[in-house]
Symmetry: C2
Subunit: 256 residues, 2 copies
């Protein structure tokens, strides 16, 4: 199936919104509700969320959704939202695999800064051939995670579902390990690296004031982040948590 760059971006965005949408459901209490491979149902993705995620107007999203539906890559219930079909999810995972492989390659082989690789990968993910993908995968020895800690889908469309919590939800006194950071915003990434919040860093939360967006942390050195955006951009595991890297076939699960 040969798709346009735009169509691939829509599929990828639907996948990501559904994924994070799930995590956001019922998250007031921090604790044992968002572990590993809980039921991955989640609500369909709304047109508005899709349009916002892609920075286009809502009617543009509607139009593309109808096109993808006619290709049987998404299921669209008018006024209700959209979900990926197994075929659509397969393509979304391929694009995400490309993206994260390229990020890893750019960082590890070409030595690019980790705040730059995301924007590059956004372009590369759409033109990567099977051959180049395989060469890059081999050169990196089939990496499982990208430089930001995000899991890289396998060639056959399975992806590890980490169950990490956003740092945002950690409370004062918690001792946690940074597992993943969002690659979206270069400025946030540079800030995170400055204060030491990179995957693998261990830290203790000294003071947490989620409302005001102030978080004081004991890392190697002491760190302080302000605003919910950085705290939202970091996923952590609470010390004692299992590494929880169970591969799952998303497409298969989708079919149920």
């Amino acid at each position: 199936m040969v798709l346009s760059t735009a169509a691939e971006d829509y599929l990828k965005t639907i996948y990501k919104l559904r994924e994070t949408g799930v995590r956001a459901v019922g998250n007031e209490a921090r604790g044992n509700e968002a572990r590993g491979n809980e039921a991955r149902e989640g609500a369909p993705v709304t047109t508005q969320a899709l349009a916002d995620g892609l920075q286009v107007a809502a009617p543009s999203a509607t139009a593309m959704v109808k096109k993808l539906a006619s290709l049987k890559l998404v299921a669209h219930e008018p006024y209700r939202g959209v979900t990926l079909t197994p075929a659509g999810e397969k393509i979304a995972l391929e694009v995400i695999r490309h993206h994260r492989l390229v990020e890893t390659f750019l960082a590890e082989v070409l030595g690019m800064d980790w705040d730059q690789v995301h924007d590059e990968a956004e372009k590369w993910e759409h033109i990567l051939s099977e051959e180049v993908e395989a060469k890059i995968d081999a050169a990196l020895n089939s990496p499982t995670h990208d430089p930001h800690g995000a899991p890289i889908p396998t060639l056959d469309g399975r992806i590890a579902s980490d169950g990490w919590q956003p740092l945002l939800r950690a409370g004062a006194g918690d001792r946690v390990t940074v597992r993943r950071v969002s690659d979206r915003n270069p400025a946030v990434l540079r800030h995170l690296r400055e204060v030491g919040l990179i995957p693998g860093a261990r830290l203790e939360v000294l003071r947490a004031a989620p409302e005001s967006g102030v978080l004081e942390l004991q890392v190697e050195a002491q760190a302080r982040i302000v605003g919910t955006e950085p705290a939202r951009a970091v996923w952590v595991s609470h010390d004692g948590d299992t590494p929880s890297s169970n591969l799952q076939n998303d497409a298969a699960e989708n079919r149920k």
Copy 2:
């Protein structure tokens, strides 16, 4: 100047057609007419040649030429053809630099076959950022030629003008060195490698029958190529020729 992929392809193709067009002028006699940096005037590129080179219909070429002319990237004399302005040539050389750097990178770093890298580079050349270009250039130690022997333009838009002859024009008894091969056709490239015609190979022409397209060569082993296409895809220097790698600023020369 941010251009579409299509616009960049047109500029690149105009550059290449003009370049090879020059070489084709008055080439009956083989000898001292096509050396190094002779006057690079050549005829303007015709609409038909451009359309053929890009595999589009002639009216499509006319339309894009008018657009590029409005951007002052080409000079268009209706019914007479088109030439690059210095600004247009600068962009063409940037695209060609990207292409050849990527080819070199894919071959040397990722170990791809030399018959595959051209098609990949056709896609990469349009999305390569300055940063990645610089990283690749550094990783390869600023290469001067790509795996097929074509010169890589410098960052400031100068390109070595080799003065090699097409193998097609060699006569029986000539002793020559392969300098460059065309990267266009993967099948031809595989064939050339099979018979040993890679840059650096030294060979003696045993028998030449240009009309029938048969060429018998003594390489390391004996080789025989049939058809004008392979013979046209190879540039050679006659033994004793100087390496002739004089950088020139094409854009400057164009301005005269």
